[in-house]
Symmetry: C2
Subunit: 400 residues, 2 copies
């Protein structure tokens, strides 16, 4: 067995995790509980929206033709028939030369095809002076203009935003079919690890990864379950992974993913299932494992939190999205790089950067430092085909 990892390109690793993702289950929830959930079915408009021709302003419903040529100097004069009631089932109408006051959202009377804004008209006795002409359709939203009955309003796979929730309410989707959150088991392995509430002794460090990975998974709409810290012993890891797979749709193990003699993750995954990838041409994050156990994804992450997080963003994000049949939700922006960054050809480098005023500033310091995670706003990816980026180049920043 070689001491070194045989690495594959990031794009291939992404392809592998997409392939091992199994289709999600779905469930129905009340719309008010559906924020950020992934739609499992299209939402259609059940009726025309709006259901009637509707005024968008406070004003007067008119036949537009009656206002032709109206001006400050020579206003048009119309007879005023009173108000349009809100939410009223009483059909009302106007005849040529007449108008009705209509509040915002009111149903346009039959015979009207436009609304004169209150600012451009003056009521005097029972008459209305109109000081500006309106075009047909002005200040009106017509029946079905927003959404037609039967039209797809929100597509399957969409992560529901607050605006989507509002629009779903408008089309009657009081309950929606959403993806059941995949359950993700989380294990940290390492003899040096102690729990957060303990003060580490000599040579010990706290287990940051359980929290880091759990929060990442939760942010991506999944349900993390923690299986704690496991020592670097093959039997212990075997048992922990087996138990985790009995309850979870996928398991993420951090630590023990390299080829040191105390690194057991790949061997245990191979025992229980299959190792598909061991080593990715990515920095940081090379010692990453992709495999399956019971046909479910089993991922080995580097032990160092900063490296693990880059792998979460670059690789695991695609797995979790595929498990929910949604797209990777990635916010990016363009910025001007402030420094040269050399890179090895054949390896994708992910450089942590701060972002401000259109500039991307590499966060220097050793890649193993945790503080780079909180002092950066995102990552700049240097493709495997590149030998680096130059100061002043326009780069895409993947925001954390």
């Amino acid at each position: 067995m070689s001491l070194f990892l045989e690495v594959i390109p990031v794009s291939e690793a992404v392809e592998v995790v997409r392939q091992i993702a199994r289709p999600p289950r779905s469930e129905e929830v009340a719309l008010e509980d559906a924020l950020y959930r992934v739609l499992a079915e299209d939402i259609l408009a059940d009726i025309d929206i709006p259901g009637f021709d509707r005024s968008t302003v406070d004003g007067y419903a008119v036949a537009a033709a009656d206002t032709t040529g109206a001006s400050e100097g020579i206003p048009a004069m119309l007879g005023c028939l009173g108000r349009v009631g809100m939410g009223s089932a009483d059909a009302c109408s106007i005849s040529p030369g007449l108008c009705r006051y209509i509040p915002t959202g009111g149903a346009l009377p039959r015979g009207a095809d436009a609304v004169v804004m209150i600012e451009h008209a003056e009521e005097i006795g029972g008459d209305l002076l109109v000081r500006r002409p309106v075009a047909p359709g002005e200040n009106v939203v017509f029946q079905g203009e927003d959404f037609r009955a039967g039209q797809v309003v929100l597509e399957r796979g969409r992560v529901l935003s607050p605006r989507d929730i509002g629009v779903a309410a408008a089309v009657g989707a009081g309950r929606v079919s959403v993806v059941t959150p995949p359950v993700i088991g989380i294990i940290s392995t390492g003899n040096e690890l102690v729990q957060t509430d303990r003060v580490p002794g000599p040579g010990e460090v706290r287990d940051a990864n359980s929290y880091l990975v759990g929060a990442f998974v939760a942010e991506r709409g999944c349900l993390p379950i923690h299986f704690g810290i496991v020592r670097d012993e093959r039997d212990a890891l075997d048992e922990a992974i087996t138990v985790a797979f009995s309850r979870c749709d996928a398991v993420l193990v951090s630590g023990g993913s390299s080829k040191d003699e105390r690194d057991n993750t790949a061997a245990v995954i191979a025992d229980l299932g299959k190792v598909l990838v061991h080593g990715i041409a990515i920095a940081p994050g090379k010692p990453t494992i992709i495999g399956t156990v019971q046909g479910k994804p089993a991922i080995g992450l580097p032990g160092h939190p900063a490296s693990a997080y880059v792998v979460l963003v670059a690789i695991v994000d695609h797995l979790l999205a595929a498990m929910q049949k949604t797209a990777v939700a990635r916010r990016t922006l363009h910025a001007r790089l402030t420094e040269n960054i050399p890179s090895a050809r054949g390896r994708e480098d992910y450089i942590r950067v701060r972002v401000g005023e259109g500039e991307a500033m590499p966060v220097f310091g050793k890649s193993g430092l945790l503080n780079t995670l909180v002092q950066s706003e995102g990552l700049v990816r240097i493709p495997a085909s590149s030998e680096g980026l130059e100061s002043g180049e326009d780069v895409e920043v993947i925001l954390w």
Copy 2:
């Protein structure tokens, strides 16, 4: 009483909502439940991180001076003393001319000041051939280099990201003090409104705002409580607002915010407390009310969902942030505008745009359309001092 609103600039309205925000309460939660919560107190490192000089690679702990001049042709030769144990309390050391194998994360032995990567060395019998020199400190993170004991790691007011959660775990913050989510009462008013699960009759529309506002408030870390749909009747609205304030830290009423005779929100807020602002120089969203009841914020939003949402983003966001002593979390990007957009001087216009490939494309169509909310990715703000933006201009997009 004038038929028209006396408007104030957006910047003044923002100042007013900031002033009426009262300081938040705080509570302690387990770190795993703190994702996206607002920190109420700084988190400090309780100890040096790391707590010892730590290897960042798998390799050999050496005295850097022993590798001076090492090369492929003339490697340095060191005696090999065995392994550094992980998480071990056993102090170990090396003397000049000697080395120890050290896994990633291992504690550097006394006498060593650098680590040679495994790739650049070869073990032969009990000896190690080193083929590249290392500098002092190479592949090592020194004690306290990441965080010093007592140093502020995460500042009060920060919204905790997954990365923050991981870093907090590393510094021992297993429980954290976070802002108690403000409780926000939500009321929709309008005779035309029916609940989402009903099919609207003639002249009726479904109440989208309760859902839209509720989801926005939840996204901003607050707890929405719904008080349903109220008819356009002063007594009914008075009662609903009074009940809402008995349970909530602030109340948002949508609808009834203009000056039509059926618009009661301003009058009811004036009865129960104080109206500070009625009308903002913003489009859409002019008929907006800012007031207080029992010293707590009372906001009147326009009835149309698309207008209400712009006011939520432009004004209410600042209120909810101030109520939690945090900054408005706003993601923006720069893009090239694809069309001219005229605007009235003296008014801030918010134009919905789609974003793609560095371009911001205005979503045309009547501002009263709901579909603009789901077909746009954000807003471009046209300042009150501007008469419009030109095609090709670089604009800032506030992402939804």
